[in-house]
């Protein structure tokens, strides 16, 4: 019951989706299963939110170090959730002028829109932007032209980096007419359209085979790691 039924559910769902792809009559099954999948994914977000709530409350009640930040997380979570679920500040649209509930939840001017526009987006993009510093410093420490492979990687990265900056254009202007094809931007284009394309294709084919074999292992019950180790 605890392990066999989940195995059967996984196998049935997976094979139904595979079969539905090949039989036109069963195509709608695949579409329904996809919709169910998306519904469960949305529920997983609720589960994640519930877990976050529980962990932060636990931290606050135990007065663990940094519990003040847990309170900030909790407040941000609850306030944003309230704004979004109750569509606070959402104005009705011309399609349904008397029903504000019918308007999009993130309509411009709403409270959730404000949270996304002035909190979520700046924070998310700055976090990713910060990686520029760390990638550069990690590269500085890790990239050493110790052997042929490392040298190739280093030189390619250097060409592509310069090829996408204004320096590429300046260097091209200095180069004589006959050597224009050796400018950084042209070399970047060759690298991207020939070598990178070939390499990415080989990797993509490898990934596809890997995904297909892993999926088969899951569906046939060979890989049961998702069920966990214990009975509970």
């Amino acid at each position: 019951m605890k392990r066999t039924v989940p195995l059967m559910i996984a196998a049935t769902t997976g094979f139904v989706l595979i079969v539905s792809y090949f039989i036109p009559y069963t195509e709608s099954w695949g579409e329904d299963a996809m919709t169910w999948f998306n519904i469960l994914a949305a529920i997983a977000f609720i589960l994640g939110g519930g877990n976050l709530l529980r962990m932060q409350l636990q931290k606050i009640s135990d007065r663990r170090p940094g519990w003040g930040y847990a309170a900030v997380t909790l407040a941000a979570f609850v306030i944003t959730l309230f704004f979004g679920l109750f569509k606070i500040g959402v104005q009705p649209t011309a399609a349904f002028p008397t029903n504000a509930w019918a308007a999009p939840y993130d309509r411009e001017g709403s409270a959730l829109w404000w949270c996304v526009e002035y909190l979520y987006r700046p924070l998310a993009s700055t976090m990713f932007a910060l990686l520029a510093f760390y990638i550069a410093s990690a590269a500085f420490r890790a990239f050493r032209a110790k052997n042929t492979e490392a040298t190739i990687l280093l030189v390619t990265a250097f060409i592509v980096l310069l090829g996408r900056t204004y320096i590429a254009g300046i260097v091209r202007e200095w180069l004589p007419e006959g050597l224009q094809s050796l400018s950084f931007d042209n070399m970047t284009n060759y690298i991207m359209s020939v070598f990178n394309l070939a390499g990415m294709r080989a990797i993509t084919i490898g990934i596809a085979l890997g995904v297909a074999s892993t999926s088969l292992k899951v569906l046939l019950g060979v890989d049961r790691s998702y069920l966990g180790a214990g009975d509970e």
Partner: protein, 309 residues
């Protein structure tokens, strides 16, 4: 107080005074809006006559038009710009270490993003797909007035509802194994979808795109040297890469040599990917700096928002 702390405190104070002074004198970081009113007609229904409803929207106006009639400062959006600037600087302060401003904005980020994705999931999946199939009449009368009249209850959707409840069971102190059933559905569906889609898009399609003519002739019938070299390099490159990934044969002798070529090709790919990733991150950083210097501090004006001011 330590000398270093005193230095930073002094620096922040001077910065704050300068910012405040600039905000008062120049008015930077303000967002101007204009109120736009439209009228929408509401059709007559049983017991209610047709009527016209006034709808109000606020649109952003460039600061150069701040003196135009009907344009005013939006308090909410102005506060938003200052909050976004604080958040940006807070995250950037991580470069100095795990500072209190960083920890504060990080906590806000965790809370807001978790809630935001929950809201997205609720409105776009639970309401739009689950409830609209289970109780279409109720949804049409309340949250989804645009729902087609042809939509009738589909009780098969009780299955995802039950699976959802089982998934949430994980939050209960006992019976966590119940959540394995929806998890199994999730895993099975992912495996089924991925198996077909990857084989179709990433296996068959990539092989099909790699089957290229090695000798290319132009439209006028002449031999195209560069296109021929390019196609040859692509085909041989893919084959070399695949030889490297083929571990069933030891990488010795001829196979070893080919695999070595595959490694070199992969190194070029990784180098190019690295260069692209760095450039992508730098573009994001430039975007954040543009926000700080343009939208917030009004020190630069690349889009001529304040031309003539």
């Amino acid at each position: 107080m330590q000398r270093e702390t005193l230095f930073w405190l002094g620096l922040m104070l001077v910065g704050g005074v300068l910012l405040g002074g600039r905000a008062i004198l120049v008015g930077n970081g303000r967002q101007y809006v204009e109120r736009v009113t439209t009228t929408a007609d509401v059709a007559a229904t049983e017991g209610a006559a047709a009527q016209a409803v006034e709808l109000t929207d606020y649109v952003n106006i460039p600061a150069r038009e701040r003196d135009a009639p009907g344009v005013r400062v939006s308090f909410a959006r102005t506060v938003g710009i200052w909050v976004a600037a604080f958040c940006t600087l807070g995250i950037m302060s991580f470069l100095l270490g795990e500072t209190p401003p960083y920890k504060l904005v990080e906590s806000v980020f965790v809370g807001v993003s978790a809630a935001y994705w929950m809201v997205v999931g609720f409105w776009s999946e639970i309401v739009q797909n689950l409830l609209s199939h289970l109780v279409p009449g109720l949804m049409r009368a309340t949250l989804l007035p645009g729902l087609s009249e042809k939509t009738v209850p589909n009780y098969w959707y009780v299955v995802p509802l039950v699976l959802s409840v089982m998934m949430l069971w994980r939050l209960a102190p006992k019976g966590a194994w119940i959540a394995r059933w929806p998890l199994a559905f999730f895993i099975g569906a992912t495996a089924g979808i991925r198996l077909v889609s990857y084989l179709e898009a990433d296996f068959v399609q990539q092989i099909s795109s790699t089957i290229l003519p090695l000798v290319v002739f132009g439209a006028d019938g002449s031999f195209d040297v560069w296109a021929s070299i390019k196609n040859t390099l692509i085909v041989s490159g893919v084959l070399l890469g695949l030889v490297y990934f083929f571990f069933s044969v030891p990488h010795k002798g001829v196979v070893g040599g080919l695999a070595k070529g595959g490694v070199w090709l992969l190194m070029i790919t990784f180098g190019a990917s690295f260069g692209y990733t760095v450039m992508g991150r730098i573009a994001l950083l430039a975007d954040r700096l543009e926000f700080l210097f343009d939208d917030w501090l009004w020190l630069i004006d690349p889009t001529l928002q304040r031309a003539g001011m």
